[in-house]
């Protein structure tokens, strides 16, 4: 086994130089006139049992990254390895089998559950689809799952509209757990929920992770939530991964100017601790036409002349702490 192969099989998931472009069509015969570079060359790896947090503002490509990794989208370039196996180009039955091991929890608990299906059917559907038995045979198992995620047993016979947002998210989690997956990609699972309910769902996810031995890719825009959940965090900006570090390290010693600004911009729930804010000017540029050089340079408070020329690469500055910024090269 070569070093590279060994490296790939050690991690549950390994993503190498992943790109996902969406074509922009227009003009005569709707020709392709450009690309939206939603994910532009990211590499990351997930160890077994860890929670990797992916954080960034809206439009930074974090959801696209999550869905490309789960192969809901076909990557434009790059490679994805799951348990050492290349899953980048899987099709048909093989792809279908892969889905047993990778499940997703979606953001909107109102849109991601079929309103015409009983909760029992929603949760048993993945099991039925993979031939684990008929719905009636699986009833006990599904009821166990429902109670495990904190729903009453009679939830089995109810419909999604009878539940609150937090409870619906629990249904979504039960559905994702049904097949006992190895990896769960949770895409903004709590952003639609109220604070008091949010903490319930976060605690549940943590408990289940220990119990079912799950690896979690946790995607969110709220850095304090991501920090609470994750072992390691990747910060995305405009389709690029700008910093990857241990969760505590990232908070204590953020290296990239964007991460520093992001952390300082979060209002802290403590009136006596009003820290100096780094206020960024302007908005996130369009991913259809990203800036040349470092994608962050037009808004960066520490911009240097060379930033508009050379695109920085993700480099290790400390142990397990990687940054893509020319300040550290």
């Amino acid at each position: 086994m070569t070093q590279q192969q060994k490296d790939r099989s050690e991690h549950l998931l390994k993503v190498e130089e992943l790109k996902k472009y969406y074509p922009v069509r227009g003009g005569f015969f709707r020709r392709k006139i450009g690309d939206v570079k939603a994910v532009d060359n990211i590499s990351l790896d997930l160890k077994r049992g860890e929670t990797f947090g992916l954080v960034g503002e809206s439009g930074c490509g974090k959801s696209t990254a999550g869905r490309t990794i789960t192969r809901l989208f076909k990557p434009t370039e790059g490679k994805i390895f799951f348990e050492g196996k290349d899953i980048t180009n899987l099709r048909g039955t093989q792809l279908r089998n892969l889905r047993q091991d990778i499940q997703m929890v979606f953001q909107d608990p109102y849109a991601s559950l079929n309103p015409k299906m009983m909760v029992g059917s929603i949760v048993s559907e993945p099991l039925v689809n993979y031939g684990k038995g008929s719905e009636s045979k699986l009833k006990d198992e599904v009821m166990n799952l429902l109670t495990r995620v904190g729903l009453p047993e009679d939830a089995y016979y109810k419909y999604p509209h009878e539940f609150s947002g937090g409870q619906r998210q629990r249904i979504g989690i039960a559905r994702a757990l049904a097949l006992k997956p190895k990896l769960i990609v949770a895409d903004e699972p709590v952003s639609a929920l109220d604070v008091s309910v949010q903490s319930q769902v976060l605690n549940l996810l943590k408990e289940l992770q220990d119990e079912f031995d799950l690896t979690l890719l946790f995607i969110a825009h709220d850095l304090s939530v991501v920090k609470h959940m994750s072992d390691r965090i990747g910060v995305m900006y405009l389709g690029n991964l700008v910093e990857v570090a241990d969760a505590d390290d990232l908070y204590r010693d953020p290296k990239h100017p964007y991460t520093q600004a992001l952390i300082s911009a979060i209002p802290q729930p403590d009136p006596r601790n009003k820290s100096e804010r780094i206020i960024l000017s302007g908005d996130v540029p369009s991913p259809q036409n990203p800036p040349v050089g470092c994608p962050f340079h037009p808004r960066c408070p520490k911009v240097m002349p060379e930033c508009s020329g050379k695109k920085p690469q993700l480099k290790e500055v400390n142990k397990e702490h990687r940054v893509s910024c020319l300040l550290y090269e």
């Binding site: 809206s58 609150s164 008091s196 903490s199 976060l202 605690n203 943590k206 609470h228 911009a265």
Partner: protein
């Protein structure tokens, strides 16, 4: 409490909605006041009545089923409740302005930014057309839009969320109002843009010298902005105090639970505290007793029998909970 100095004073406000022939109160017995140049944050979860309360002040409730049943809304000593639409139009946008959560739906998509900006000034001033356009441009510059001359010819869809919220703020401060009501102004925005907008609101507040009533669910925003905090739960004010005491000496079990259930950056905590259950819906609200009782970790049997009152435990700190003597109806009457 001396109320001479209050800019806005809400007294025992009840706002109800007709649902299936029955009136359900989304706001039940809300009283608090806003002093000039003060930032008051109203905080609570979705469905706690904070938006309905602000719409009641502006008298923007849906006409077909929403109405103010009881109570007074005193603005500079004048009650707004009996005013009709025409009289309210004199106040809206001029003395009291409002900005909303979703700046895309609050702006008209088929009219230019300039047209919508000018409209406010045309309605409330007698200035000439050219002066008004100049004023609109200078207002846009005041809220940090550098391309103001071009922006007035553009449409809302051409702007980003943060820019639209800036336009909304510019419109709101056009007539130098004394009170700005901001209903979740940064909820739809990213954190870095939120930081820009919050800083802008603070700056403008200083320049215009207005009071701000900021409605939010984000306790971080509250800590950042507020002088005083009003905590709402299920249509009632459960606690009111200055920002320091709310964060460092919270009295009501709900406030305490809310504060301990948010993940904090500087802390290492394996398990977050939670509040069990959910906010009861309008239809399932308990008739008598405390509305928080089913979720309260400190619930007592009498909580289901007695309506707690909002009483002062110490000067400037009110709470609605039977754990405190000031909230017990019989004790309260003795004090009086």
């Amino acid at each position: 409490m001396s109320n001479q100095e209050a800019l806005l004073e809400i007294k025992n406000l009840h706002t109800g909605f007709d649902i299936g022939g029955e009136t359900h109160h989304a706001v039940k017995d809300v009283s608090f006041s806003v002093k000039p140049r003060e930032v008051v944050c109203v905080v609570g979860e979705s469905g706690c009545g904070k938006s309905v309360m602000s719409l009641s002040i502006m008298k923007l409730l849906p006409k077909h089923n929403g109405k103010i049943d009881k109570g007074e809304i005193l603005f500079k000593g004048k009650d707004l409740v009996p005013l009709n639409d025409k009289e309210m139009n004199q106040i809206r946008g001029k003395d009291i302005s409002m900005i909303f959560q979703e700046p895309m739906t609050a702006l008209n998509p088929v009219l230019t930014i300039g047209f919508q900006m000018d409209e406010v000034l045309i309605n409330h001033t007698n200035a000439k057309k050219e002066e008004i356009r100049q004023k609109s441009i200078s207002l846009l510059k005041q809220v940090g839009i550098s391309r103001a001359e071009q922006i007035v010819h553009e449409y809302p869809h051409q702007l980003s969320g943060g820019m639209r919220q800036r336009v909304m703020i510019a419109m709101a401060i056009a007539c130098q109002p004394q009170l700005l009501i901001a209903d979740e102004p940064t909820t739809a925005l990213d954190v870095t843009v939120q930081a820009q907008i919050l800083e802008l609101i603070t700056k403008i507040q200083d320049e215009v010298g207005m009071a701000v009533m900021l409605i939010t669910h984000d306790l971080g925003v509250v800590a950042e902005m507020a002088d005083r905090v009003v905590v709402m739960y299920a249509g009632q004010v459960v606690e009111e105090s200055d920002v320091d005491r709310i964060f460092y000496d919270p009295k009501h079990p709900y406030t305490r639970a809310l504060l301990s259930s948010i993940p904090r950056m500087e802390e290492e905590k394996e398990v977050l505290n939670t509040i069990k259950g959910i906010v009861p819906s309008l239809k399932n609200m308990p008739e008598v007793g405390c509305r928080f009782v089913d979720r309260c970790p400190e619930a007592m049997p009498e909580c289901r029998k007695i309506d707690p009152l909002l009483g002062e435990t110490e000067k400037g700190h009110s709470v609605r909970c039977l754990l405190y003597d000031a909230s017990k109806p019989e004790k309260k009457s003795e004090v009086r």
